[in-house]
């Protein structure tokens, strides 16, 4: 079987020449393309295994999408301004995880960004600079501190009216995690790639024999070094995807909840601009969330935040007067990346 490699076209590349058999199938979900790679010696169960994996991904989408009218997140967005809303433990636990991540990242990651996301129109693929009034109203409805999660009653409540949850920054990663959990119970080694921005693997085959290249944000198709996933997840956020330029300024879908007018943080405007951030983490939801946060925070503010995540690594790709540069914390061979560049 000739391995089709969608990763090469986007943010990651893998080394060609693998001769060992594996199974691969893709399906559209959560606004992106999920590709599932299996290394399974019991190939006769291929059909039902893929089916179960994609059903699990679909289940997560149906639960956490803010676009599907029957999703739990839409219900919470509709009702939580009016009072506490009880939800099931899975949804509640992911919200607790997200809020804790907001706290640890000083608000750079924030799932209450829903109104702001809608105002900018990135998710709807119609990005534009919102009017000042729209932006002010959206900004007022953002703030993880106003998300009240009562662990005793398992309830969600918005303390500011008009708030909206948007789990887009971690939902794909969470779906990857759940799908990999399912495959673990079936004893199958696997790698799952969600739109090239979230990728995770388990088992020896994909973890140790499939190097993943981190894409060069400028030179399309080239990579800036490789990593082995080794039973962990890799997530990348960057301005190459979903950004637009207006009045000489780049606006990214990675919205800054702290300073909503731009993706740039409160850093000195003379500092190098973050082009791309990659995170290696034990699971994909954490990798996704941290990747967004580190993109917003940049290396200067992000370094202290990363101390709270000793099992995670970060690589920033920066653009400044001297061209591209790299900065990493616990990232494998960061120095080599810088030298090669």
């Amino acid at each position: 079987m000739e391995p089709y490699n969608p990763l090469a076209e986007a943010l990651y590349t893998h080394r060609e020449g693998s001769l060992e058999p594996f199974l691969m199938r893709s399906r559209q979900a959560m606004g992106t393309r999920f590709t599932v790679y299996l290394y399974d010696t019991e190939a006769e169960r291929e059909h039902e295994v893929f089916q179960a994996v994609f059903e699990e991904i679909e289940r997560i989408e149906k639960t956490f999408s803010r676009f599907l009218a029957s999703s739990e997140i839409v219900r919470i967005n509709d009702e939580a301004s009016q009072g506490p809303v009880v939800t099931d433990p899975e949804v509640f636990n992911l919200l607790v995880f997200a809020k804790e991540l907001s706290e640890k990242t000083e608000g750079a990651f924030d799932i209450t960004i829903g109104r702001l996301s809608r105002a900018w129109g990135f998710a709807e693929r119609r990005p534009a600079i919102p009017s000042p009034d729209t932006l002010r109203a959206a900004e007022a409805a953002v703030g993880w501190r106003h998300l009240n999660l009562d662990v005793n009653w398992r309830t969600v409540e918005f303390l500011e009216s008009g708030m909206e949850l948007d789990l887009g920054a971690i939902a794909k990663g969470y779906a990857v995690d759940r799908a990999l959990d399912l495959l673990r119970t079936l004893g199958i080694e696997a790698m799952i790639d969600a739109g090239s921005s979230s990728i995770a693997a388990n088992g020896e085959y994909f973890s140790q024999r499939w190097p993943i290249g981190v894409a060069d944000p400028v030179r399309v198709g080239e990579s800036l070094g490789e990593v082995f996933l080794g039973n962990r997840a890799l997530s990348t956020s960057g301005i190459r995807e979903q950004s637009f330029t207006a009045d000489g300024r780049v606006y990214s879908h990675l919205l800054n909840p702290i300073s909503p007018l731009s993706h740039r943080s409160a850093e000195d405007s003379e500092a190098p601009q973050v082009m791309q951030t990659s995170i290696l983490a034990p699971d994909s939801a954490l990798a996704d969330g941290l990747s967004t946060a580190m993109f917003i925070l940049g290396p200067r503010r992000g370094e202290a935040v990363m101390e709270q995540f000793p099992a995670c690594s970060v690589l920033w790709i920066l653009s400044g007067c001297a061209g591209l540069s790299c900065s990493g914390i616990r990232w494998p061979a960061t120095q080599q990346i810088i030298e090669e560049r």
Partner: protein, 410 residues
Amino acid sequence: MERREFIGIAAAGLGALSLGMRGYGSPQAIAPSDWVNLGVIGVGNRGQHMMRMMLRVPGVRIAGLCDLYEPRIGEGRKVTGEQTPSYSDYRKLLDARDIDAVLVATPLGLHAEHVIAALESGRAVYGEKSMGRTLDDCNRIRDAARRTGKMLQVGLQYTYAPWYIEAQKRIREGGIGQVTQVQSYWHRNNNWRRPLPPGAGPEIEKLLNWRLYREWSGGLLAELGSHQISFANTLFGAMPVSAIASGGIDYWKDGREIEDNVHAILRYPGGQTLQASFITTNRLDGAQERIFGTGGSIVLTHTEAIYYQEPWYPNSAVPPEMTIGHKLITGPTYSAEQPYQGKGDTPIKGEASDADLLACREFIDCIRTQRRPSADENLGWSGGVTVALCNQALKTERKIELSEFLAGTS
């Protein structure tokens, strides 16, 4: 009726429904005596899904899990988020004093045993569809509900879907003229198998893939078609007078015992027809009901209802762009009968809610207020028996009259 009027009324109807759903109440506001401790018999995929839905209803706790297959207990505890007491024998679960109500999500062939035992234990029961695998199963379950006086809600969740309710209301009021035909599809493209864990033997295979074996399964007609068949019964206000069906194991020849494609035609007393199609090799048409009336059509899916008006209908307000495919064109094509290719209207746009969650809310509300659910033992019996009737037609490869089926002479 004008198109705009149809949409306006539909939206107003949904608004009222939505209002009822909002501000549903937080668990803090539920009196301790109104909390419902639920026992679950059958913690497979469907059981876990319904547990999640039940846990989104304020004042519900899952107090017991029962499954023969031990890994399901661990999966169920992940759903509840606690070390929920577990049982491998459903009778032990029913012996537990703190269980107020029971959710039965076991294989179809076991519904009668589990639902009847749960009713006889004095609990209200949410029994997954179809009601029972055979006519006898359905009769016994209905009799048990009547004998015990305990509430039984059958898992026909679309009974509570606002877009289904509104569509039926509009149809009753003549919104699409006289309904003569319903075509329903449940088309999938998969083998309907669950993957097996390492080392699983034939027993585990049959347990996890029970839908493929006659002992427990009613096949595609029961597992997929029961919703649509029950809907047609409700729409036509009657059970069918006869059914014919055809199908076979024609693609997935993997040792299964139930058909991988089934097509049934049901005739109703008023001269209406339901054509129901179930396949597992193509998903273009997905799951939908197409309701054809002399003045218009409604297409129902799992998320919305789409309304189409017949372009020639008196007082038609259909704008020109909606009549693509119906315009007069000279030439060899008989364009008047080209399929409609416009978008139609969505009467209940953007107001969809999860039908399973609505069904769970109804169940808990009915327990607290001691009222009957819409999908009670009568609706469940009607749908379950109709499914069994169709399966008899499929098995015998001949037209079966309802009267002979009920008399046990088919």
